[in-house]
């Protein structure tokens, strides 16, 4: 009787076992194992195309170099005609899809037209028409000049797939791209294996296979790196970096990227509507302490939202040091006094605000906890609420948001103007930008820059906008986001793309 129960259970496990084990051709030696925090909920480029451009399965017409300038991709060159309302792109020849069919201008136009209707990067681009000119050129006609169109063409949402890849409703159901790797095996949402594509037009890959696995928990990813089960691990929790650095089998690559940890402030909220209050909150931040103790990179502290190398948008003299005295003086000038428990109070109301953040990026919860204590020193009671990232746009839409801690990437589109327009240029600000900030000058100047061609005028207006943001603090920057990646020493030639567009797997080689 006991025997029967044991065999029944045994049979069950064997049956379940066989159904899950896939005998992948990739072996330990020929596969680069990648682990990152981002899930791909579907294979449509508009939804999670960024995973597949990084895995170099799909490519865009234009690419971006490390300084953020546009460089040729599937298009060899591009001319901007008729004051920016017509872009002519000449396509590279000898480009082959993964189904061995050559890429024709008609394929490109079809792919772009599909990408046009989907939400994401193509939002707000005034496209009139896209059509083929001859056997190697296509034209994009715009209703009005749109300077950031180049950056949009470099965005993952405008990746070019073979016609057979799309279903009738325009959603991609098969990833037939042009990149140096083709899809070998897919398990939505957290496992993908790609294989070397020999007819690639550019530099062919040396590595046979690459396997991408989503690791939700930050400490689980660190364990993968330590134990060598993953060769490249993105999104390392800064806390674990010191220990990883001491390990012999891997090295930690630190890279700055145009992503900034920023406190989004609702400028119409009762306590936060005055500039002095926002400046006080900014002075109360101990940015050096956070950068050193939490982010583990002392020089990441910053009082501006954009990095120094975007010189047009970087204000020369900015001070990011903590100044509690000034902060207290500013608060006092607004009529706030500290009550018995040390919280600021004014005619019966306590200075109590909420900060929303999300746990997908490990640094956000720790930085929020640090800010909470620092604002407590000047009497501001901050309640931290860790939920899902969607609560922030929702809070923006119904004005229920006080503050939110976000990690905004201003480099998704190489030139920050596009993002700035989306974040600051709109009437109420942007879901991931300012909120109810009343500064008409900044809004009008931003739209003017769209069609500004003279670099010196462009720079002068950009500087004035940057100065206004720095002074009135509609967004309180905390620090630049530092991306830490663990790379196994059995690989050579890894380089990190600051614009997070590609893993450059085709440049990787095994260490002999």
């Amino acid at each position: 009787m006991k025997l029967i129960k044991a065999t029944a259970l045994g049979a069950l496990t064997v049956l379940a076992c066989s159904s899950t084990l896939s005998s992948a051709a990739p072996t330990e030696q020929n596969t680069v194992k990648i682990n990152a925090p981002f899930e791909f909920s579907s294979i449509d480029p508009s939804r999670s195309g960024y995973v597949f451009t990084r895995l170099q399965v799909i490519e865009t017409l234009l690419n971006v170099d490390t300084q953020g300038n546009l460089i040729p991709g599937l298009a060899t060159d591009w001319q901007i005609l008729e004051q920016g309302t017509r872009w002519r792109l000449s396509l590279r020849d000898g480009v082959v899809f993964h189904n061995d069919k050559p890429m024709t201008p008609a394929n490109v136009v079809a792919a772009l037209k599909i990408a046009l209707q989907k939400p994401g990067a193509w939002q707000g681009v005034p496209v009139k028409d896209i059509h083929v000119i001859n056997d190697h050129q296509i034209d994009i006609e715009l209703n009005t000049a749109y300077q950031p169109l180049g950056a949009v063409l470099a965005n993952y949402a405008s990746a070019i797939l073979a016609p057979e890849a799309y279903a009738e409703d325009g959603l991609a159901q098969q990833l037939i791209g042009t990149g140096p790797f083709s899809v070998y095996e897919l398990a939505v949402p957290h496992r993908a294996v790609v294989e070397k594509f020999d007819q690639y037009w550019g530099q062919k890959a040396h590595v046979e296979y690459a396997r991408y696995l989503t690791g939700h928990r930050a400490e689980a990813r660190v364990l993968q790196a330590r134990s060598g089960q993953a060769d490249i691990v993105f999104g390392l929790d800064p806390a674990a970096v010191p220990t990883l650095k001491r390990l012999p089998n891997l090295e930690v690559v630190r890279s700055d990227l145009p992503r900034t940890l920023v406190v989004k402030v609702n400028a119409s909220q009762a306590f936060l509507d005055s500039v002095e209050a926002r400046q006080a909150l900014s002075y109360a931040l101990n940015r050096q302490g956070i950068a050193m103790a939490v982010l583990r990179s002392p020089e990441a502290a910053s009082a501006q939202i954009l990095p120094p190398y975007m010189s047009d948008w970087y204000v020369a003299d900015s001070d990011s040091s903590q100044n509690l005295a000034k902060a207290n003086k500013l608060m006092a000038s607004l009529g706030w006094q500290k009550n018995s428990e040390g919280w600021l109070e004014q005619d019966g109301q306590r200075f109590e605000i909420e900060m929303i953040t999300y746990a997908d990026r490990p640094e956000l919860t720790t930085v929020a906890t640090a800010i909470q204590d620092q604002w407590k020193q000047i009497g501001v009671k901050l309640n931290v609420n860790i939920t899902n990232s969607s609560a922030i746009p929702a809070g923006h839409a119904d004005d229920s948001l006080d503050t939110a801690l976000i990690a905004r990437n201003y480099g998704v589109i190489a030139d920050p103007l596009g993002t700035l327009i989306k974040d600051i240029g709109q009437e109420k600000g942007g879901d991931w930008g300012t909120m109810n900030w009343s500064n008409s000058y900044v809004k009008t100047t931003l739209t003017e820059l769209l069609s500004e061609t003279d670099p010196s005028v462009y720079r002068q207006k950009a500087q004035r906008i940057a100065q206004a943001i720095y002074d009135e603090k509609p967004l309180i920057p905390v620090a630049y986001y530092v991306q830490q990646t663990a790379v196994s020493k059995r690989l050579q030639g890894f380089r990190f793309d600051p614009y997070e567009r590609s893993f450059f797997l085709n440049e990787l080689t095994w260490v002999k």
């Binding site: 159904s19 939804r47 939400p119 990232s389």
Partner: protein, 311 residues
């Protein structure tokens, strides 16, 4: 026997309806607008904005009245169509079966190893007692005092990192199953070995066992004919109760070792507010729980003709 199965069937129906409605009500009252959450999971955290949320709302008809949604969900449930995951769009039942396979594999392996550890130790400590009994008592008490994920963390530190023997997380090769199953097994065996010990001591000390020896049966014959079955009845009944700890353990271990089972799926779906997957997972877990309980009932009935469950 038939009456027992009928009762379980009724419970299955009540459970599925109850669990389904409970999760439905709970999820409708979740704070934060569902459309935004789903858009976030679909289009990536930083790219979600009002336009994307609006699009999601129309596409999935999220703003239809609660009652209409409930009725529509109820009719789907009857035809065992659990709808599609709001996030990935794949049919819920398909991904759930996949997850259920993993969870059953983990739970099965965990319980099997737990029995392999608990039975010999329990019987030996009951038969010889002395220092073995005392050490087992202290180890079991210590093991029960820590949550299952702590055992998991310690196992990870020891096996995966210091000795680098076993993979830390994920799935694929059988080696991936070892650590999670071992963690679950240790947490289960810590309790079941003491239960087996107590039941074995009860039987060895009982007068019918002594009379069997007085009748002239050798110690081994007495154990074989009278010992095993009398010990097995309460132990199997206890396994029925331990199912709760098995499933709770599975939820924790899956999220620690990111084992793609139903517990992990549920925890993740709750975070992403993916209602169909939550209802499907909660339903599946409820049914799995009732089915496993029925199996234990049948085993108990087969073992103990007196019908009553001792435990």
């Amino acid at each position: 026997m038939r009456q027992l199965l009928l009762k379980r069937l009724l419970q299955l129906i009540a459970v599925s309806w109850g669990v389904g409605t409970l999760t439905f009500i709970l999820m409708r009252s979740l704070p934060g607008d569902m459309a935004y959450r789903i858009a976030a999971s679909r289009y990536g955290m930083d790219a979600v904005d009002n336009r994307a949320a609006e699009l999601v709302r129309q596409e999935l008809g999220l703003d239809q009245g609660a009652l209409a949604a409930y009725w529509q969900w109820f009719t789907d449930l009857l035809s065992w169509n659990l709808g599609n995951s709001l996030v990935s769009g794949t049919p819920v039942s398909e991904s759930l079966w996949h997850m259920l396979g993993h969870s059953l594999l983990l739970a099965g392996a965990g319980m099997l190893i737990a029995l392999l550890i608990a039975i010999p130790l329990g019987l030996a400590s009951a038969y010889w007692g002395g220092w073995l009994d005392r050490t087992l008592l202290t180890v079991s008490t210590a093991m029960r005092a820590v949550p299952v994920f702590v055992i998991g963390l310690l196992a990870v530190i020891l096996f995966a990192l210091e000795w680098n023997l076993l993979p830390v997380a994920g799935f694929g090769t059988p080696a991936h199953l070892v650590l999670p199953a071992l963690t679950l097994a240790l947490s289960l065996a810590a309790i079941s070995n003491r239960v087996i010990h107590t039941e074995a001591q009860r039987v060895f000390g009982s007068s019918f066992y002594e009379f069997a020896r007085l009748k002239g049966l050798s110690p081994w014959q007495a154990f074989q004919h009278h010992g095993i079955r009398n010990i097995a009845v309460p132990v199997v009944a206890f396994l029925g109760i331990q199912l709760i700890t098995v499933i709770e353990g599975v939820v924790m271990i899956e999220s620690l070792f990111s084992w793609p089972g139903i517990g992990h799926g549920l925890a993740h779906a709750i975070f992403a507010r993916d209602i169909p997957v939550i209802q499907g997972a909660a339903l599946m877990m409820g049914m799995m729980f009732v089915v496993l309980n029925t199996l234990v009932d049948i085993a108990c009935h087969y073992l103990d003709p007196r019908g009553g469950r001792i435990a």
